[in-house]
């Protein structure tokens, strides 16, 4: 079965991203497909490549990145939500005249249509939020 996951909360502040990650791992272990992971609201902050969590804690962004690499996951950050919150990839930083970018390369920036399309293409859409 194909799942699309929607993550609406940032890392560490809320358990939503952790729950989604554990769900994704369990689904993949059972042979299901993760069609897309879409990051919205403060969930876009999961895609920062600049976080430095304490060494004895989990690294949520790197966990997602590793899972994505292993299973070729499509992890999409909503561009409108990201721009509001200062989350930019290199292309977008150039376009907006900003002097830095902070999106981890395991994630890609795209529009909200990717969420709706994820809902259409997947058998189930699950929301993890607050």
């Amino acid at each position: 079965m194909k799942f699309t996951l929607l993550i609406n909360e940032g890392p560490y502040q809320h358990q939503a991203s952790d729950t989604a990650y554990q769900f994704a791992k369990a689904a993949l272990a059972k042979g299901h497909e993760i069609y897309r992971v879409f990051f919205y609201n403060d969930g876009v902050n999961n895609a920062t490549r600049l976080a430095v969590p304490p060494q004895d804690d989990r690294n949520i962004t790197e966990n997602w990145a590793a899972l994505a690499k292993e299973h070729e996951l499509d992890m999409v950050v909503c561009i409108a939500a990201a721009q509001r919150r200062g989350m930019l990839d290199a292309d977008e930083a150039g376009r907006q005249g900003k002097d830095a970018d902070n999106i981890h390369p395991a994630f890609r920036i795209s529009g909200l249509g990717q969420l709706v399309e994820g809902g259409i293409q997947a058998d189930r859409l699950l929301t993890f939020g607050d």
Binding site: Y40, V116, T127
Partner: protein, 136 residues
């Protein structure tokens, strides 16, 4: 080959302004209109405050996004369910919420109400029929 149409329902349960969920949910709804799916909205619990009349953000400095709800009809989104119990619990009636409308292309573009009052039990039935339910 065209794909079958899915039923999307956006369930709004939170008050506007205190958090960003109402505004960003509306942005998804407006985008979803471009995908030719069956889209409906629910306002229940504190979500009923999202479509309250007379929102005035002048002194709070917040962006007043309530006019965008009035555009839903232009996007062919005209099934907007409002939970009657949630209104009653909050001392509200249909008079307190925006009279959202759409123009019915099958009826010589007659203006018709988009707001559909629904009880909890009716909403439970409607949610059960959906393919995708996105709550916030």
């Amino acid at each position: 080959m065209s794909e079958s149409i899915k039923k999307f329902m956006f369930v709004n349960t939170k008050a506007p302004y205190g958090t960003v969920y109402a505004l960003e949910s509306l942005e998804v709804v407006l985008i979803s209109a471009a995908f030719d799916q069956s889209v409906s909205l629910v306002f229940c619990d504190d979500g009923v405050f999202q479509i309250a009349n007379n929102q005035n953000t002048e002194a709070s400095g917040m962006k007043n996004f309530s006019p965008a709800y009035k555009a839903l009809g232009d996007y062919d989104i005209n099934k907007i369910y409002v939970e009657t119990e949630s209104l009653e619990e909050r001392g509200l009636t249909l008079d307190n919420i925006m009279a959202l409308t759409y123009e019915d292309e099958d009826d010589d573009w007659a203006e018709k109400p988009s707001i559909i009052p629904a009880t909890r039990a009716e909403l439970a039935d409607l949610m059960d029929e959906q393919d995708v339910v996105i709550s916030s």
